[in-house]
């Protein structure tokens, strides 16, 4: 009987290894840990593929807890009842959610609408609340253990003639597993829970094992002053090339019906898919090795890749084998488009569905920069001027403003070209350490300064196009009035919302003018300047 349990475990291990290739060692380790005498606190650190690992652990624990302990001999006390719960620290962002989710999953309780969506009611007849505090949580765990054992003894009771002691023996081996995913977030959302969870078995005095899964190492999460016990560490290694390819091919969505008419996911194409994945990996692996991202790109490209083959086999009721020659040619034609796909899909400028609908793959989608440019060109005129002045305010040092923008009758002729007199000797003194402003990125500026530059730009470039009322008599008065108008301020706010202007100061600070940074690049600003006929290059202090 003992053997049968182990056999079942072996079988389970094999199944899970098949669906999560490349993790054999981890899986067998976990199975052993959970089914035998585990350390009460395990830390699973996976810096590369945490999502996949989380679903692996979930699959493993839920199938372990699905093993029916009843089917084994009652006297076999090595067969534990395993109750498991996997809780995601982001999804369960409050104490209440964390406790509710844990209990419902451990007890396999399904809330039903008709019952008013009641949670796991606890061992005793209702009225007891386990989700209000940590203390309640611990009591709940004990009640749960009693219930799990109790259920066991109840089931056994008809055959129980052999006495109570045996029933209690069985009751001893209820094992609970609590898996917490994305633990790094627990530190922010529920910091008080971190330490108790690490020593849960000790506090609740039930046989419970805690497994943390995280992308960050334990050292970053560890509470200070040694409050938590040290975990049993498990490290997940990045998948090797072989494993990644196995993962990729495992995503080929085929229904296995060989007799079906040719379609893009025909089982006969599985071999071609493997070759295709291999080619994809060899091209994309320098950029990303995340199996999910690679699988995403592969799925997006496949319908287009296979289209010529399907075209050739159109109207056939059965699939014809594709010759090696055709395969190689197909791959060679498709190689260049892989990089384009990677560039568009990994940053999600496009989603896979849209990508596979695109007619011409070799070009890729329109370049992002151009896209932004077109968008900016469609903005209202005033917002364009604001962007230009923000760009100037972000690129020029404030001390140069007077020289660049001061407009009085005597300086006008001097300043026109090149922006005043440059003191070259001073610059050369610090030139060794000086980084060009364009490379250093935009500098923050107060709104007032941008407004002043905006007024100059409007006065010089926009005034001709305006019809000015007779009430404006002084030079510059009209532009100054424009600055103070409601829609100018709202345009700034709108641009900040669209992240074309970046607000640097916190929004709740009332003291002093708000600080902004320019959100458009040099090239976009140049193009915008050309559009608006503003000589941007003449207005930048440092053109180099």
């Amino acid at each position: 009987m003992m053997a049968s349990y182990l056999e079942q475990l072996d079988c389970l291990t094999r199944d899970i290894s098949d669906s999560f290739p490349g993790n054999d060692a981890l899986i067998s380790q976990l199975v052993t840990l959970i089914t035998t005498c585990p350390p009460t606190f395990t830390y699973l650190h996976d810096p590369h593929t945490p999502r996949a690992t989380a679903s692996l652990v979930n699959a493993l624990t839920s199938s372990l807890s699905a093993i029916d302990a009843k089917s084994f001999a009652p006297d076999d006390d090595a067969v534990p009842i395993i109750a498991s719960a996997q809780v995601n620290a982001i999804v369960s962002f409050s104490h209440r959610l964390f406790y509710d989710t844990t209990f419902n999953r451990l007890a396999k309780w399904r809330p039903r609408w008709e019952d008013g969506c009641e949670n796991w009611p606890g061992g005793t007849a209702g009225g007891v609340r386990y989700n209000d505090s940590l203390d309640g949580f611990l009591h709940g765990l004990r009640a749960l253990q009693v219930q799990l054992c109790g259920a066991k003894t109840e089931v056994k009771s008809p055959r129980k003639g052999r006495g109570k002691t045996r029933a209690q023996d069985v009751a001893k081996v209820v094992k609970m597993v609590l898996v917490v995913d994305r633990v790094e977030r627990l530190k922010e959302s529920l910091p008080g829970l971190l330490v108790p969870l690490t020593r849960l078995a000790e506090l609740s005095r039930v046989d419970i094992q805690t497994i943390f899964i995280s992308q960050s190492p334990w050292e970053d999460i560890k509470p200070p002053l040694g409050a938590a016990v040290d975990p049993f560490h498990l490290l997940v290694h990045p998948p090797s090339q072989e494993d990644t390819l196995r993962i990729l091919t495992s995503h080929f969505p085929t229904d296995g019906d060989l007799a079906a008419a040719p379609h893009a996911y025909h089982p006969a194409l599985a071999q071609l898919y493997a070759q295709y994945a291999n080619a994809l990996y060899s091209i994309c692996s320098p950029f990303t090795r995340d199996p999910h991202e690679l699988a995403y790109v592969a799925a997006a490209q496949w319908p287009n890749f296979i289209a010529p083959v399907l075209e050739a086999q159109k109207g056939l009721s059965e699939f014809h084998v594709i010759s090696e020659d055709v395969r190689l040619r197909l791959l060679r034609v498709f190689l260049p488009s892989f990089t384009a796909a990677l560039e568009a899909l990994v940053p999600r400028r496009m989603h896979a569905r849209a990508w596979c609908r695109m007619p011409d793959l070799s070009e890729g989608p329109s370049v992002d920069e151009k896209n932004v440019e077109a968008v900016i060109r469609s903005l209202p005129t005033l917002q364009k001027y604001i962007l230009l002045s923000a760009f100037l305010a972000s690129s020029n040092p404030p001390r140069t403003d007077v020289r660049m923008f001061a407009r009085s009758h005597d300086t006008r002729s001097k300043r026109r070209r090149g922006g005043g007199t440059r003191r070259t000797p001073q610059r050369s003194a610090s030139s060794s350490a000086k980084v060009s402003q364009r490379l250093a990125g935009p500098t923050p500026f107060p709104l007032d300064r941008m407004n002043a530059i905006l007024a100059t730009l409007l006065e010089e470039h926009d005034l001709e196009t305006r019809v000015i009322g007779t009430e404006f008599t002084q030079p510059g008065e009209y532009s100054e009035m424009e600055l103070m108008r409601v829609h100018t301020s709202s345009a700034v706010a709108e641009l900040a919302a669209a992240h074309l202007l970046l607000r640097v100061s916190p929004p709740d600070r009332l003291d002093g003018p708000p600080m902004y940074k320019c959100g458009i690049s040099f090239d976009v600003a140049l193009a915008l300047g050309r559009d608006m006929r503003v000589p941007i290059l003449d207005l930048i202090w440092e053109t180099g």
């Binding site: 999804v91 609408w113 969506c117 949670n119 209000d132 996911y265 968008v375 005129t381 008065e477 919302a497």
Partner: protein
């Protein structure tokens, strides 16, 4: 001051600006003018208004604006319709149309750029989704029904409240007949997405046969304003529950910026999503369509015609400040409101003057109180030249005659306006066809919006002549293309109008002539004649509407648009109010026209502000107080002529007076502080900083 706004005024408009009243226009007794304003409303031309004219005109305004609004909204929704259809389709297919082989299910997101500024669009979309799915003949599968929840940035300051709003938005509508009371402590909590899952489970079980389970559509309004961290968590949580929970997020983005999501959210979040981007139609093409179909379409006759000044402002504002549909509506509404300020507009629809029956209208005019109105009406109707040149005495002798003459002017105006619209439409058509034929039309750099505005001023003579000249040179073949296009253009117009018939006749005759002459291949003469006809036609009909009699009633003309109301300069207004308070406050009657008052007569805040302007960058508060108290002192001596001073209690009185001055100073200082003219710096004791410099007085 309450301003009686009708129920057709959009309640969501953030600001209603009530302008300072013109002193010259106030009623005779300013004593209890607030009461009077409340009773009668704002009436700038009171002295020549009809008794009860304000109410009558307000009714007319409501009717006119309602008509115009309905038209504009209809045009806008028909412009939006294709995009709305597409979005609805993609919402319905969000979970059917999934690419096989993806590593994990993605959360469908629909990002609509430029839609925050157009609330109508989102409302339209939501109502389309919520409506029970219509049976489409093309689709065999009925589209799934949708439940909708709206999230606003103010509800979503943290993830807990966000999830609560999201979950309860759906769960508060319990499945039919299964409203179960949940216990607050031992049931699933209201911010638990598991609750939503249970709720949806009931719906899924209830859905029978081929009917797909309902979709859960979440609208995130003003998406840019949401906290990024909250939205990241929201998407993470929801993405871990798809596809069991068919959630679809619709994001209303205000910017026309499709890459907002890419710019703000990290790849780890984006990789959970499948973002479909849509853009709400906007831009000058949009405005052009709205204006053309509202004011230059023979199928629709608005009660009043907007003038070139309003059109120019509309175009300028749209291109320069904010390209939103709401802005267009607001400007048109304001133009309507302002137009009905004019007492004569009581005649916009008919001569009934809000009387219950038409026969009573002359009686209203015969009322002695209406004398000023009638005389102004008379002088507007018949200009001085006309009266002078008329040798047969008065053009009309009684009120009925006056009303008849107004009716005549109305018919005349409408007819001219129709001809203008028709001629303008033909001009645009000829222009388009000629461009299509490959001619270069020089000298017309005007955009079509500018052309519309010019046509209302009768200012398209040169363009008309140019087009006519090109037409004259057309070969027979090209001329027949042009005629064909013009005929189909004219055929689409309502055929009961005489104005259309006239043009139709000429085009048809020319076409027939051309047809006859085909063999002789001598189209040149016909083209010549037709070109001349076009020039004449354009010249005759594209006229300045302000030359017509009584145009003020139906046309806003070149009266300037009150742009200060749409785009005020708040700080400049505050400063000018402080400098010249009498233009904003009501004054005693003995100073009706005072331009600049001596400092004694100003309110405290203004006195303080005058002194503020004379100070340097920083103001010593004590000096400021001293100078203020001097003014107050002189005010006191001015007001209370010094008679026999009794020394009794003099000291006490002085003490009280000092307290009084201090209190007034502090209060005025706070007023200035409140409007942001004073900046406190810790740098120098007893000093505050100015925030306004160089104020032109």
């Amino acid at each position: 001051m309450s301003f009686p706004l009708g129920e057709d005024v959009d309640a969501s408009q953030p600001v209603i600006y009530i302008p300072p009243r013109d002193e010259t226009a106030t009623g005779p007794d300013t004593g209890d003018e607030t009461d009077q304003l409340l009773a009668e409303g704002y009436s700038p031309f009171d002295e020549r208004d009809l008794p009860g004219g304000y109410v009558a005109r307000f009714k007319l305004y409501r009717a006119a604006w309602k008509k115009c609004l309905a038209r504009v909204e209809h045009i806008i929704s028909s412009l939006h319709a294709p995009v709305v259809d597409e979005i609805v389709r993609s919402v319905h297919r969000a979970y059917d149309d999934v690419l096989p082989g993806l590593p994990y299910p993605e959360l469908p997101i629909i990002a609509i750029s430029g839609s925050s500024t157009s609330q109508g669009f989102i409302a339209n979309l939501a109502s389309r989704l919520e409506a029970s799915p219509v049976e489409d003949s093309e689709d065999e599968d009925p589209p799934p029904s949708s439940y909708i929840t709206h999230l606003y940035p103010s509800d979503c300051s943290n993830i807990m409240s966000t999830m609560k709003t999201l979950v309860s938005g759906f769960v508060d509508r319990p499945p039919a007949g299964q409203d179960v009371k949940r216990k607050p402590t031992t049931s699933l909590s209201s911010h638990d997405i598991e609750l939503l899952k249970v709720w949806h489970g009931v719906h899924r079980d209830a859905a029978e046969g081929p009917e797909p389970p309902p979709q859960l559509v979440v609208f995130l309004h003003e998406f840019e304003q949401f906290d990024e961290a909250v939205v990241q968590d929201l998407f993470y949580i929801c993405s871990s529950y798809v596809p069991q929970l068919p959630l679809i997020f619709v994001l209303a983005l205000s910017s026309p910026h499709n890459s907002f999501l890419n710019a703000v959210y990290p790849q780890s979040v984006l990789s959970l999503l499948r973002v479909d981007a849509f853009t709400v139609p906007s831009g000058t093409g949009f405005l052009e369509e709205v204006v053309t179909k509202t004011f230059f379409d023979l199928h629709f006759e608005p009660d009043i015609m907007v003038g070139p000044a309003t059109l120019d402002f509309l175009t300028d504002f749209f291109c320069r400040n904010s390209a939103s549909a709401e802005g267009v509506l607001l400007i048109l509404q304001l133009a309507h409101l302002k137009h009905f300020d004019e007492p004569l507009t009581a005649f916009v629809r008919d001569g009934q003057l809000d009387a219950p029956i038409a026969e009573l209208a002359p009686k209203k005019l015969s009322d002695p109180k209406a004398a000023a109105f009638v005389s102004s009406l008379f002088s507007w109707s018949f200009g001085p030249q006309k009266l002078a040149s008329n040798e047969e005495g008065w053009p009309v002798n009684d009120v009925a005659g006056l009303l008849a003459s107004i009716a005549e002017a109305r018919t005349d105006f409408c007819s001219h306006l129709r001809r203008l619209k028709l001629a303008f439409g033909m001009m645009r058509k000829v222009y388009e066809v000629i461009l299509d034929l490959g001619y270069r039309v020089t000298g017309t750099e005007m955009t079509s919006l500018e052309m519309m505005s010019a046509s209302l001023k009768g200012g398209l003579a040169r363009e008309g002549k140019h087009l006519g000249t090109i037409t004259r040179k057309l070969s027979g073949e090209k001329l027949s293309i042009l005629l064909g296009e013009l005929r189909s253009f004219l055929d689409e117009l309502p055929d009961h109008l005489d104005e259309v018939h006239e043009a139709q006749q000429c085009v048809t005759t020319t076409a027939a002539l051309l047809e006859d002459d085909k063999e002789s291949a001598d189209g040149a003469q016909i083209a010549d004649e037709f070109g001349d006809w076009l020039i004449g036609y354009f010249q005759e009909h594209i006229i300045n509407l302000e030359d017509l009699r009584l145009w003020e009633i139906w046309h806003t003309g070149s009266t300037p648009f009150p742009s200060e109301m749409i785009n005020p300069a708040s700080r400049a207004t505050i400063v000018s109010a402080l400098l010249q308070p009498h233009t904003f406050l009501s004054l005693p009657r003995d100073h009706p026209m005072a331009q600049r008052l001596p400092i004694l007569k100003l309110p405290d805040a203004s006195i303080l502000f005058r002194r503020y302007l004379e100070a340097g960058r920083m103001i010593n508060v004590y000096d400021w107080y001293e100078s203020f108290s001097q003014v107050i002192e002189s005010q006191r001596s001015h007001l209370v002529p010094a008679d026999g001073e009794d020394s009794n209690g003099h000291v006490d009185e002085e003490e009280d007076w000092k307290m009084h001055v201090q209190a007034r100073f502090v209060r005025a200082l706070h007023t200035l502080d409140f409007v942001g003219l004073v900046k406190h710096t810790g740098r120098k004791a007893e000093h505050v900083m100015r925030t306004v410099y160089d104020v032109p007085e």
